[in-house]
């Protein structure tokens, strides 16, 4: 049986639903030794901001049961460096390269989006309104409907291609935020970003992370992410990209059943740098086994 794994996120055609999550896959280049990135549906490169950012101080990492906390804080060399130095290295990939866009002000978001809009080979951006590790901006934009609306509307005015908005799970009602960004012009939503968490070194009586709190990711957050994707799929019409602890093909299938059109693999890339290809193969194997020809028939196909 011929299996069709291709899905569409707005105008972007993905050869399969497997993407990588921002901040866990560098610029793809770091993974060239381990897999053929062109075989993925898409990659989302590290958050890019208007100015160079040094990020937070070390320590930035705490291991947790079935997961990890990070406090990187959007370290990157800024959008101008990305356009000039990094982008030319990425056009070799025969897949969708999406840029994660973040900043601390609406003007900053708009500046980055305008500059990325000019890059021919970048079919979309993922607006990061959900980073929990920066003092200003970041998650603040993603935890209130008026703020989320304001930043998405402003970026929508200047960004002509596919606009994905990455949502924060650190809210009371994620469906409301999803609806707000849909109304503000988003073409898709991706969820979830990391959950705000904390780790303490009891022996030293000190926090493990330099920032005290950080973002929790990995298998530990999967049930929450799955629930949120399910809820948001009932609230919006735009396609959903599901992520949060996906570590194997079964996890990916669960997100698709819950309503995700595509999925992103994040922290699992740290454990197995070649995991994304295995997940793609596993999804195909699942469809084969269940005699489902087209992956689109599985989206939101959960029987409740």
């Amino acid at each position: 049986m011929m299996i069709d794994l291709s899905v569409k996120i707005d105008k972007i055609l993905l050869k399969n639903p497997v993407m990588t999550a921002s901040g866990t896959f560098g610029y793809g280049l770091e993974f060239d030794d381990f897999l053929d990135i062109s075989q993925l549906g898409g990659i989302v490169v590290k958050a890019t901001t208007s100015k160079h950012r040094e990020g937070n101080r070390y320590p930035r990492l705490a291991e947790t049961n079935m997961g990890m906390l990070n406090a990187v804080g959007l370290q990157n060399k800024g959008v101008d460096y990305f356009v000039k130095e990094t982008y030319p290295k990425l056009i070799k990939y025969n897949t969708n390269v999406i840029v994660n866009v973040s900043d601390s002000t609406i003007e900053g978001y708009v500046e980055v989006a305008e500059k990325i809009n000019e890059l021919e080979k970048i079919p979309g951006i993922e607006l990061n309104i959900s980073c929990p590790n920066v003092k200003e901006g970041g998650m603040a934009f993603g935890t209130s409907c008026p703020m989320a609306t304001a930043v998405v509307e402003a970026v929508r005015k200047v960004y002509k291609k596919t606009l994905i908005v990455k949502l924060s799970p650190n809210v009371t009602n994620i469906s409301e935020i999803a609806k707000a960004v849909e109304d503000a012009g988003a073409d898709s939503v991706s969820l979830i970003n990391t959950l705000l968490g904390m780790a303490i070194d009891a022996e030293k009586r000190r926090p493990v992370l330099s920032t005290v709190t950080g973002g929790l990711s990995g298998p530990a957050v999967k049930p929450i992410a799955l629930r949120m994707v399910y809820q948001v799929s009932k609230a919006v019409k735009i396609p959903i990209i599901g992520l949060g602890g996906i570590s194997n093909a079964t996890d990916a299938i669960e997100f698709i059943l819950a309503g995700a059109t595509a999925i992103q693999v994040g922290t699992a890339n740290f454990i197995d740098p070649a995991i994304t290809i295995k997940i793609r193969d596993g999804i195909a194997e699942y469809l084969q086994r269940h005699q489902i020809q087209n992956i689109n028939d599985l989206i939101g196909a959960l029987e409740v």
């Binding site: 560098g26 770091e30 590290k46 070390y58 049961n65 740290f270 454990i271």
Partner: protein
Amino acid sequence: MKKVIHDLVVIENKPVGGNNFVLLLKATEKLPEMLPGQFCEVKVDKEPGVYLRRPFSIHNVDYDANTITLLIKAVGKGTNVLSALIEGDLLNIVYPLGNGFSLTKETHILLVGGGCGVAPLLFLAQTFRKMGLKPVILVGGKSTEDVPVLEDYQKLAETHVATEDGSLGEKGLVTQHTVFRTRLSEFKRIYTCGPEGMMKAVANIAEALEIPCEVSLENTMACGIGACLCCVTETTEGHKCVCTEGPVFDSRDLNNWNIEKASTCSLPYLKTKYDD
């Protein structure tokens, strides 16, 4: 240098004193080319509390036998699982990672190791011997059992020992050892790996004497390949990843590294004990 993921077979797990052990691992595929100072990321199975891989220096490489060794100290959940590995077990590793020590052609080289931090220095000393150089090795620890696999170093090079309790070699810290106090200026380059306090003390004095000093850092890391940006250290050029831009750094490129600038050579190392 191409990075690979291999399942290596445990040939031997040898306790070497203290909580240290040496894993001899055989590859079924051809070993990738490796440099001294590079490291690997080891997956720890069957322990729910261990999620991330654990980074370890390559202790030694035998291309003919297609084996590598890792010298590890059991200090926590991950390393405790590894210490219980037996012959025939499989270990999934990603390697080789990071940049190695620079292979100088200077004839007078000092290698300074502390505790199980001596691990990468065996591979380094062996590489220098193959280049026809004769490095001098100085290793230190709290006590005898904190100076593992000493005989392996003695076979390769002139080796000196300092222990804090005096149970082996000279009593005191490596920076108080006769070699360090009286012969330091004869060395053209110093390589060090061990507790950060020890490396800082060594680097401080090396800098005061204008001897280039390379240090191998061990920050907590997740991916090991420059993707997560968790293992950064502060350098004169901003944050750099220890995994891809290190783990070996020239001590002069590191910020917040000197306990106090040793320009006056007040020898702070004589007053402070190393922290772990």
